[in-house]
C-alpha cells in the first residue's frame, strides 16, 4: 500500500521555473480537452453556460469554492505526465505587486502564448449572450487597477486588511468580510474577471481563489473546530457530487496543505 502524500499549494511567487512550467503544461493540457475534463467545462461551472452554479453572498461561498478548486485541481493532476507534480498556487494580492509576472507575460521566451495570461472563452451557446447581459468575447482580458501602496479603495486589499479579517472570531463575520475582499480583487483585475458569468475563464481566477481558500485555512487553524455557522454540514455542494459542506472543512482530508513559508526564487517567466 502506497503512502498518500499531501500536495503543497505554494505562493505563485515561490514557484520554481520548473513548477511554473508544470502549471502552464497542466493548464495547456486542460485547454486542449473539449469534453468534461477540459478547461472550458470547468471554467463554465462557475458562470456561463447556464446554469450559473457559483455561490456568493451566503455562508456557502467558502465551502463551495473550496470544492470547486478541489475538483479543478484533480483534473489538472489527471492531465500531467507521470512523475510531474502540479498544484494550484495562490496569488497573494495583499503584497500590492499586482498580477504576478508569470500570469502577466503574454508571450513566453520560446514564442508561444502564455496559457496563464489569457484563455479562450468557449463552450457558451450564443443564445446565452443577449443584448442586455455581458458581451460575448473570444478571449479573456484584464484591465488591472493601480499597484503599490496608497491607492485606497482603487488598489488591492492590504496585508493589514487581511490581518483584520483573520482576527475576526465569528464565521459569519469572517466570511462576509473575506468575500468583500474577494469581490474587490475581481473588480481590481477588471475585464473578464469582473463579471461572474465569465470570470473563471481567466487563469488568474484560480490563483485568486486559492488565496481566498488559504485565508480561510489560516482562519480555521486559528479557530479549531469552527464550522460554517448555521449551514448544515451535510448540505450538498452541487455540482460536485462527492462533496458536502462538512467534507470541505479539513483541507488535509482533501489531500492538500498550504506552504507556511514563501522562500525566494528566481523570477519565473
Amino acid at each position: 500500500m502506497s503512502t498518500a502524500l499531501l500536495r503543497y499549494r505554494k505562493s505563485v511567487t515561490s514557484l520554481s521555473p520548473n513548477e511554473v512550467s508544470a502549471l502552464r503544461l497542466a493548464i495547456s493540457n486542460m485547454l486542449s480537452l473539449d469534453d468534461d475534463r477540459g478547461y472550458a467545462y470547468w471554467a463554465g461551472i462557475h458562470g456561463l453556460p447556464l446554469p450559473i452554479s457559483c455561490t456568493h453572498g451566503t455562508p456557502l461561498f467558502l465551502p463551495w469554492h473550496r470544492a470547486y478548486l478541489y475538483y479543478f485541481e484533480q483534473y489538472l493532476l489527471d492531465v500531467m505526465p507521470d512523475g510531474v507534480a502540479v498544484s494550484l498556487p495562490w496569488w497573494d494580492w495583499s503584497i500590492q505587486a499586482g498580477v504576478p509576472v508569470s500570469y502577466a507575460l503574454i508571450d513566453l521566451p520560446d514564442g508561444t502564448s502564455n496559457p496563464l495570461a489569457a484563455a479562450p472563452v468557449s463552450g457558451i451557446p450564443d443564445v446565452q449572450f443577449r443584448d442586455e447581459n455581458v458581451p460575448k468575447v473570444a478571449q479573456t482580458s484584464r484591465t488591472p487597477g493601480p499597484t503599490g501602496q496608497g491607492h485606497g479603495s482603487a488598489g488591492l486589499p492590504s496585508v493589514a486588511e487581511v490581518s483584520a479579517v483573520l482576527a475576526l472570531q465569528d464565521f459569519a463575520d469572517f466570511t462576509i468580510q473575506l468575500e468583500d475582499l474577494h469581490n474587490r480583487v475581481h473588480v481590481w483585475v477588471g475585464g473578464t474577471m469582473s463579471e461572474i458569468p465569465v470570470a473563471a475563464f481567466d487563469p488568474i481566477f484560480w490563483a485568486h481563489h486559492t488565496m481566498i481558500d488559504r485565508v480561510w485555512a489560516l482562519w480555521q487553524q486559528a479557530h479549531p473546530g469552527a464550522g460554517v455557522g448555521s449551514v448544515p454540514l451535510d448540505y450538498p455542494l452541487g455540482p460536485f457530487p462527492t462533496l458536502n459542506v462538512g467534507q470541505t472543512l479539513s483541507i488535509t482530508a482533501l489531500g492538500y496543505q498550504y506552504a507556511s513559508a514563501t522562500s525566494s526564487a528566481a523570477a519565473a517567466t
Binding site: R130, E132, N133, P135, T143, D173, R184, P197
Partner: protein, 154 residues
C-alpha cells in the same frame, strides 16, 4: 455601450448614545444582478457622488458587489421567486438579494457625536474601463437595497 450613470442614495441613522468598540453599517437586501461595482459610503455628505474622492474626510469605507452581469436566460429566468413553496428543496435563487457589511468605527467616532442623527450617502461606482465594455442597462440604476442598519458593539 453607454457611460456609467450613478444613482446614489441617502439614508438617515442615529449614532449610539453609549461608547462602542465597533460600529458596522449593514446593508440588507442588496441587488447584485447587474455589473460589479464599488459602493462608497460617505457620512454627513449628502451631496457626495462618483466624483467625490475617497480621500474626502466624509468617506467611511466601501463594499464591493461581484455582479451577476445581467440575465443570460429567457424572460423571468433572473427573477427570484417571492415565495418558497412547501417541499421546494432547491437551493436559493442565484439572485436572492444579499447583505453587505462595512466596519466604520473610527470614522463614525470622528464625525458623529453620540446620539446624533447622521446621513449615510451610498455612491455606486463602476470603473470606467468596465463600464465601457458593458451594455447600458448593466451600469445604470445599480443601487437597490431594502435597508441599512447601524450595529454598534459595546
Amino acid at each position: 455601450m453607454a457611460p456609467f450613470v450613478s444613482n446614489p442614495s441617502t439614508v438617515m441613522l442615529t449614532a449610539p448614545s453609549e461608547p462602542y468598540v465597533r460600529a458596522d453599517l449593514e446593508l440588507h437586501g442588496v441587488d447584485h444582478s447587474k455589473a460589479s461595482f464599488e459602493g462608497r459610503l460617505f457620512l454627513n455628505n449628502p451631496e457626495a457622488g462618483p466624483d467625490t474622492p475617497t480621500t474626502d474626510e466624509s468617506y467611511a469605507g466601501s463594499f464591493w458587489i461581484f455582479g451577476h452581469g445581467g440575465c443570460a436566460g429567457g424572460e423571468g429566468h433572473c427573477e427570484p421567486s417571492r415565495e418558497l413553496r412547501p417541499f421546494d428543496f432547491r437551493a436559493e435563487h442565484q439572485l436572492t438579494p444579499i447583505s453587505k457589511l462595512v466596519v466604520v468605527t473610527a470614522k463614525l467616532r470622528q464625525l458623529v457625536p453620540p446620539a446624533r442623527d447622521f446621513s449615510v450617502r451610498i455612491v455606486p461606482y463602476v470603473r470606467p474601463e468596465s463600464a465601457e465594455r458593458l451594455p447600458s442597462n448593466l451600469v445604470t440604476d445599480l443601487l437597490h437595497f431594502e435597508r441599512v442598519d447601524l450595529l454598534a458593539y459595546q
